[in-house]
Amino acid sequence: MSLVYAAAMGHAPGITAWVEAAPTAQKDALYAGFAELHAGIEAAKPDALFVFTSEHWANFFLDHVSAFCIGRGDHFVGPVEPWLKVAKSRIPGAPDLANALIAECMASDMDPGFGDEMSFDHGTMVPLHFLTPSMNIPIVPIMINTLMAPQPTARRCLALGRAAGRVAMRSSKRIGVIATGGMSHDPGEIKHGWIDSDFDKRFLAQMEAGDLEALGDYSTASLMAAGAGALELLAWISLAGALDEAVGKVRGRTLAYEAVEPWATGIGAMSFSTAQVMMA
């Protein structure tokens, strides 16, 4: 029926775990952006959410790697980190919606992994904590392998997003889409602590404008130039595919961006219009 809400935001663990480490002005700007995203979701009242996300060895390991894993459990749990300062929660799933997405992918000649059990680390729990603090909106997590080479391409992520966009438009429910991760950061790696604000601002501008050519052109190497963690932006690119498919054009608005050195990450918060663009 409709895609009624879309948002993208970072998920650095410091956002909740080391709040006081960040300069107050930066923290306040980001929290204001997250609050605006929360107000948007309260107004849009989605029945369920697609969540394009990534993880940090919480579920998956080198014994079995999928480019994408769609969670179709009837619930999920998180966070796995006891130090995250986010309450241990049980988040409802949306198995019918998940199955619809898996079927749509298969019908589109894509072959995602899927799983009935998944636990979430900060990568999913930090955004949920701000966007749906009651943890009461059913979600379909779509885990993207950003950790282990070879990762999926940006164009494949656009196609994945398009599949989600088609499912949203066919659904009888009000569907929201969330992307989380990034921006520039190199966690645990050589350039840990370094932030590439120029890269981040260029990426935000491409998301605002819905420049799908530029977004699809990102290679693994060109994302990793902004740190290994910048590969998490594949989730944002997936969201752009979903919006383009469902409403005809990506129109984003950056609510906040801060390069937060104590959190070792460039963090963005972006809202998107979900009003349909009339085709000429």
Binding site: F61, D63, M148, A149, G188, H192
Partner: protein, 85 residues
């Protein structure tokens, strides 16, 4: 990425409290349960962050592993940056 068994050991210690205690009590004995090269075995038993990073351990496995051993961030970063110095 290679170093499969080495990373499997580290992930097990990171996420399983029983394994964590066993490794802390007897690292060499714990490591005997994994098919490691001699370089890998020596590096993990001695908690040599530089060698472990050079051997290909993912940063998001190695940094939590080093935190379990009380290693401050600057010390960890100095150690892994020796691999590119």
């Amino acid at each position: 990425m290679s170093a499969y068994a080495l990373q499997k050991l580290i992930r097990e210690v990171n996420r399983n409290p029983v394994a964590r205690d066993a490794f802390k009590a007897d690292a060499a004995g714990f490591a005997a349960g994994f098919e490691l090269t001699e370089d890998e075995r020596a590096a993990v038993v001695s908690r040599d962050w530089t060698a472990l990073y050079r051997l290909g351990v993912h940063g998001l496995l190695l940094r939590p592993f080093s935190i379990l051993h009380g290693t401050p961030e600057p010390e960890y970063l100095t150690a892994i940056r020796k691999t590119v110095a």
